[in-house]
Symmetry: C2
Subunit: 158 residues, 2 copies
């Protein structure tokens, strides 16, 4: 089998949250909270969600949508600056076949009493399909769900 030529793209999302950087960051660093906004969802079955939130640590998730094939996300934490920045690399696979490798830089910037989150993702689509539009739209949905998670949580002192 010959590997298909990879397609390289990138996108960025900028979003304001009415919560402090410490609180938004906590929704990433706390495994239970992250699972809630990142992995759970109507129609989604989570088969695995394990997090080792430290530089060099892995996060693995395996899930299915409405009984479909297994989708997996293997994340490595590359850089963490508490309440300010998280950089990850993650690989997505469908039914065991890796189809994308991504570098995501997430920055949490104070803005008034809230947070400006800047998400930049640089992608290598290994199956030769430019999946950037779907990927960006999926990330935007997740960052919407994050807003619900951040709003439901008690406010953390900064």
């Amino acid at each position: 089998m010959t590997a298909t030529a990879a397609v390289h793209t990138s996108f960025s999302i900028d979003r304001f949250y009415a919560a402090s950087p410490a609180e938004v960051f906590a929704a990433f660093s706390d495994a239970e909270r992250k699972r809630r906004w990142f992995a759970e969802g109507e129609g989604w079955q989570v088969d695995e969600f394990s997090v080792d939130f430290r530089v060099g640590g892995f996060e693995r998730s395996r899930f299915r949508f409405q009984g479909g094939p297994e989708i997996s996300n293997d994340t490595t934490y590359l850089d963490i600056v508490a309440n300010q920045r998280i950089v990850i690399a993650y690989v997505m696979a469908l039914a065991g076949t890796r189809f994308s490798a991504s570098l995501a830089t997430i920055e949490f910037k104070p803005e008034g009493s809230g947070t400006r989150l800047v998400y930049v993702e640089q992608d290598s689509f290994l199956d030769g399909q430019d999946g950037s539009a779907d990927r960006e739209s999926g990330c935007r949905e997740l960052l919407e769900t994050l807003a619900i998670e951040v709003e439901r949580a008690p406010v953390v002192a900064n």
Copy 2:
């Protein structure tokens, strides 16, 4: 301390090698050979070079140039297709401070009796400095050294 806003860039390098894809790939997969072209060099002191060449494996190197501060490279292997593709994420640090996170896709394509290597790197410069020109030039030098390594090795049957 406030983290500096990251700078996102990318570059690609395309280079022909007069050796088969299997032979060029072997200079990446064989730790001893990779150390020779990737880590060793006049004026460079290699303090550590350890490789676990498999998907999810780490490669760590620590080195100094002419007695200067420690430079480190922590690599994670994200995807490997034998003789065809390697995808890595790697983080560089200077004296313990991480300054870049990168996604690199390396493709090995047969071209006549040789190999067309396509190297695409997508970078997040964490110190806010656009280091892409230096990074690209460093990668070009390494890919030149790789040519010397590939030419000195016995030809591997394909």
